[in-house]
Symmetry: C2
């Protein structure tokens, strides 16, 4: 992958048409914010543009999806945003893994699958980079774009809570609010809205908390049975991953979600002195320093034991 | 009370010495941020200054309190910050209710108890105003002051989640981060740290959720028995007030905390279309539009019934 500047990326987009923008599977607010902002901006320039993803966009992002109706065309230029590696394309986008023309990302671990790319790990959210590209294409930032960019800023930083929310992140958030971003509405949807089913599964999750390594490691479990009993769906378990690390003294918080096929999806959150992406890399996963993930097979007991054993080693070797 | 400008307030502080800064009882992050920032800044100018409060400052604010050791002197000038009314002085500060020289506040409801005052309800946090006063006194903003100001911004806006976090709030947060504010540390202490006792009382609180008015009103109860069983203390129940309003469809979330004397402290959180301070005013309380409080006596059932009945009326008359 050849690294390009914001200006060069903008120039590439300006000279192409029939552009599709790929998101990673299970798209989050930053991926959705990036893709819809880019798509909307490209359409403002009179181009055909379409967002593509292996998974559906959760309904709560309706304020972004509703203004970008589907377009059908043969793709001539392929862009990805917030997409770090081939295995995150998901089933429906497999055909594109080696066909991406331009990659815009903020994951330092980006595997370099694209022809050209901007990778800026200093950006708290990938929408920070996308904003600069849109500005370089001279598309005015209206309320829609402000909302899309703000969605990425807010969701990828835990509502400006984590260390990846830099002064630049706060400054862009201020800019977006001045451009009309409905910050309180977005934050309320993303961080302050729970279905009754979600409330119920959270209660069950609190019941499942277990401690290891003198309370430095905590686990939370979400089983298929808990999902059935609470009536919660997969997407409603999102914030649960932050529960274990919030407990006083916990340096590694591990959320163990049983998938439909019986394997386990692991979300790990760590304090600043433990590298979550390094721990998850042992299991073939990855992510950021304070938040990472992986998939593990086995019985619930085996999986927990393995995760705790590896995590304990990293506690000793902390940065 | 005579309204003064930032410059005039700064001039008043500069011409006086032996200054005490009063906080409201049960001080929160904004009150503490304001008072400690002012006290620290005044000491930097060579003055004797001391923070005073009817209640102790919670331990989690140790990063602010530890650098401002107690000073003993006869007060010659009385300042209050984030203090909206006489009844919030608390028992130990009763002697000062009619002796405040300068009041710095962001509550539109400020009762005007002081001789001079700056009241700016557009400030998401009162530390936004205090920062401007400190700047006007030409005290350089170092890491300590940045941390104190940031603490107010973050805690009074629910970590930049609520509508009172304006672009100005975000911009000042960015400034403070550039001046060295340890934003992630502060946010982690304030929003991402729970004792095991807190975890336990939260689980009990989730159990106590009840719905009224077709799910538009939700209540959560915290009883003395729950406190005893969980081992949680009063201060650990803080964030629980945000639970009921988070539930989908809820426009008025009411948290009913039983106090040691058997009366109830009510915290109300509302969506944008219902004025929480107006509902709480019916019970002699007050606060902000989206977050207010009051105290009510009676049995738990009576109190709940009264609160729900009054709240229902406001649902109909929503703004």
């Amino acid at each position: 992958m050849k690294t390009v500047s914001i200006t060069e990326a903008a120039a590439m987009l300006l000279t192409h048409d029939h552009i599709i923008i790929l998101m990673h599977k299970s798209p989050d607010g930053d991926a959705i914010g990036c893709a819809y902002a880019l798509c909307y901006a490209l359409r403002k320039l009179g181009k055909s543009a379409q967002v593509r993803c292996s998974d559906p966009v959760p309904e709560k992002y309706g304020y972004l999806t509703k203004e970008v109706p589907d377009q059908h065309f043969t793709p001539a230029y392929i862009v990805s945003a917030d997409l770090a590696a081939e295995q995150l394309f998901g089933d429906a986008l497999q055909e594109y893994t080696d066909r991406v023309d331009l990659c815009i990302d903020h994951h330092g671990s980006n595997s370099g699958f694209a022809r050209y790319g901007i990778i800026d790990p200093s950006a708290g959210a990938c929408t920070q980079i996308v904003l600069r590209v849109i500005e370089a294409m001279e598309v005015p930032i209206d309320r829609y774009l402000a909302n899309a960019i703000f969605t990425g800023l807010s969701t990828d930083t835990g509502c400006f809570k984590f260390s990846n929310a830099s002064s630049e992140t706060f400054r862009i958030a201020a800019e977006m609010i001045d451009k009309g971003a409905e910050s309180a509405m977005i934050n309320r949807i993303m961080f302050d809205t729970k279905s009754r089913a979600r409330l119920e599964i959270e209660r069950m999750a609190l019941d499942s908390v277990r401690f290891y390594a003198d309370g430095q490691i905590a686990t939370v479990s979400v089983t298929q049975q808990m999902l059935r009993q609470s009536g919660a769906d997969e997407s409603e378990t999102e914030g649960i991953a932050s529960i274990p690390r919030q407990i006083e003294g916990v340096r590694i918080g591990i959320t163990i979600k049983e998938k439909e096929d019986g394997t386990f999806r692991i979300s790990m959150r760590t304090t600043d002195d433990v590298d979550a992406s390094a721990v998850c890399a042992v299991f073939g996963g990855g992510g950021h320093k304070a938040a990472a993930g992986c998939s593990v097979s086995g019985t619930a007991e085996e999986v927990t034991r393995q995760l705790v054993a590896v995590s304990e080693k990293f506690l000793g070797e902390s940065i």
